[in-house]
């Protein structure tokens, strides 16, 4: 009887980890695919984090503040990996990947809102980490990441994503 109980207590956490890993992976890859698909629609919108729009043109509407936010959960498996890594130190890739995905999602939402209102450029893009309910400072581990973003939507003269040609490396002298 005791053997069976011990077995159950062992099997439950392992099963939870396994489920979290498999479902978490599926959710992540679906989100990545979704981001790639949405990117095509807003690829023409120019984005900058400098504080003024360099080549504004008068549009139908004056510039507008656009904001977005997202809260992504860090799945149980990634949390477990993060805790393991914490013992030895070093880069915690499982958390970095989730943070990166959350940032891409908020930027995508900003672009989509600007696109919906007919703007073609964003200036003064600001991204920040929101410490909601102490999720960043919880003693146990981080369980979710909340990211806020804000920018000003403009009408710009150039609409391509890369209006300025990338600098060509100068040939070495001699």
């Amino acid at each position: 009887m005791e053997f069976v109980l011990a077995f159950i207590w062992l099997i439950i956490p392992v099963a939870l980890l396994l489920v979290a890993m498999l479902v978490g992976r599926a959710i992540t890859s679906r989100h990545e695919a979704d981001l790639a698909r949405r990117q095509a629609v807003v690829a023409h919108i120019r984005t900058t984090d400098i504080r003024v729009m360099l080549d504004p043109v008068p549009g139908d509407h004056p510039p507008m503040l656009v904001t977005s936010e997202v809260c992504l959960g860090i799945d149980h498996f990634r949390g477990f990996l993060g805790n393991l890594k914490n013992i030895f130190g070093g880069e915690v890739r499982s958390y970095a990947a989730t943070l990166d995905r959350a940032r891409r999602e908020v930027i995508m939402r900003l672009l989509e809102e600007a696109h919906r209102h007919g703007y073609n450029a964003l200036a003064n893009l600001r991204i920040e980490f929101a410490d909601i309910s102490g999720n960043a400072t919880a003693a146990r581990k981080a369980t979710s990441v909340s990211i806020l973003a804000a920018a000003t939507a403009h009408h710009a003269a150039t609409t391509t994503a890369h209006p300025v040609q990338a600098p060509v490396a100068a040939p070495l002298p001699g």
Partner: protein, 125 residues
């Protein structure tokens, strides 16, 4: 009212600065959301309840800021900034602030655009 997080508004001149306007909201999540988020957190993915909470908080903070700006008779709020702070476990503050200004539509728009020094692309055919 025009609300932007840049320091200038293309096509407009700033006539007068009326000072800082601000709005803040402290919101907590109700228990149902906490439980649902806890379950969702097992497998990761977006916690929509919390995203909504942030959206609502942000909206009401901006509304409070705009109410102040309206009271001052402002035409726009520029240089808007957001900040969050975790006050206690289970609640968060969202604070938004900006500068209320009076505006006038700029008359010399082409000159302004040229002043930035950005080469203008050929007109789209």
């Amino acid at each position: 009212m025009i609300v932007v997080n840049t320091e200038t508004i293309p096509g407009y001149e700033i006539l007068q600065s009326l000072g800082i306007v601000q709005g803040n909201v402290v919101r907590a999540k109700h228990m149902g959301r906490d439980i649902a988020a806890g379950l969702k957190n097992l497998v990761g993915g977006e916690l929509r309840g919390y995203t909504e909470l942030l959206t609502e908080s942000r909206r009401s903070a901006i509304e409070r800021m705009l109410a102040q700006a309206t009271e001052l008779g402002a035409d726009a709020v520029i240089n808007v900034r957001f900040s969050t702070s975790a006050i206690t476990q289970g609640a968060a503050e969202l604070y938004v602030y900006g500068t209320a200004v009076k505006l006038r539509e700029a008359r010399n728009e082409p000159a302004l655009a040229a002043a930035t020094g950005v080469p203008q692309p050929p007109p789209l055919s």
